[in-house]
Subunit: 222 residues, 2 copies
């Protein structure tokens, strides 16, 4: 039906999460009829992900590489000790005694944008699966433990609180429970972000789990 | 917040139609944590749009270029007489006496997939705007007229029917009315695709315009 380069484009772009073949087809013709530099910029952006992005060896957030050398590109969340620290871990203005554990980078961005949190982060890189009972191997849990143990040796840097900012889903709960057990021996305060009704919600339409979470985390008005 | 290469990626990808900054951010991290060859394939697909796609000089559908030379890439729907005919215009098995006028390539694909139409096409490349009274300059209307006049000289190729397969929207109606007036002097039968309720719809929930269209295009049961 379509010429081969367009078919290839649709095949490749519809593999992206949230992009279906119809949207991919619309994108193809939109780009085809648009300026060349739009396509050039997209190509450069894809290139940039491969060669200019490193991973912070402490919290596993992304960091811009200073020497933009070539490398294999696929990073699979390996800790690369050659990479620089991110602008959180490297910032003495942040509270280094609090670590907020998040599932993924975009969660970190949402917390950061909310503007209230000034501590450090730890990007787990995923959650436990509700269907698979095995403990996922790629989660940065051992790295969190060794980060905390490393900190403990240095009295001035000791971490005082770990905030588990995982989504209140079955997967988030599984992961949080496992982390709680894992972190307990370190004797550091562990908290989890509050549950309740989101701002603007109507009690009438709240589901049972949200409401019981809201009742559990009720606060005394003083 | 994000390192610059990721910020650039989000900026560039959220310019695409139907892609917002949040989806662009998710795409960036999905690609970053995925295989390198996924990014490579996307880059090649973008490249392919620039250098391997031509435009049929007759109906303005896309066509794969045989010599994949370099060129400026941005085509702006110029008729390129150097490009080959598409596989509709070049196919003697199609009915060359019927031309179906469509707004865009993806509309053509939907009609073609429905499997009932065996004639040729003409891709207008847009519709009149409901807000702007000027006649859009980039629509391939003059090209349709000269295509039909050219055909008329050759008695064996004379076109017998033009089907206007434009969406039943205000923009589609404006464009169809203008085309009707433009094509009338050529004395070729002009039709427009039927209006009515889509398959599976419920009369109860049909809007007034759809219902009056359905009544207007009622058919006698024999």
């Amino acid at each position: 039906m379509y010429p081969k380069p367009i078919k290839d484009f649709i095949d490749n772009f519809s593999k992206l999460p949230g992009v279906g073949p119809r949207q991919a087809a619309r994108l193809a013709f939109w780009l085809l009829n648009g300026e060349k530099n739009i396509r050039e910029n997209l190509k450069k952006s894809l290139e940039g992900l491969g060669s200019e992005i490193g991973i912070c060896p402490i919290c596993f957030f992304t960091v811009e590489k200073r020497d933009k050398g070539t490398r294999d590109g696929s990073m699979h969340r390996q800790s690369r000790h050659g990479d620089d620290k991110c602008h959180f871990c490297d910032n003495p203005g942040r509270d280094h005694k609090t670590i907020c554990v998040v599932e993924k980078e975009t969660d970190l961005a949402t917390i950061e944008k909310s503007g209230n949190y000034k501590g450090l982060y730890h990007v787990l890189g995923g959650l436990f699966s509700a269907l698979d009972t095995a403990i996922p191997k790629n989660l940065k849990m051992p790295e969190l433990i060794s980060r905390l143990e490393e900190n403990k040796k240095n009295a001035s840097k000791g971490v005082k609180e770990i905030i588990l900012a995982l989504s209140p889903t079955h997967e988030g709960d599984l992961t949080a429970h496992y982390l709680e057990r894992l972190l307990k021996p370190l004797k550091i305060k562990i908290t989890r972000i509050g549950r309740g009704l989101p701002y603007g919600a109507d009690v009438e339409f709240a589901d049972a789990q949200t409401l019981s979470g809201a009742l559990d985390s009720r606060k005394e008005i003083k």
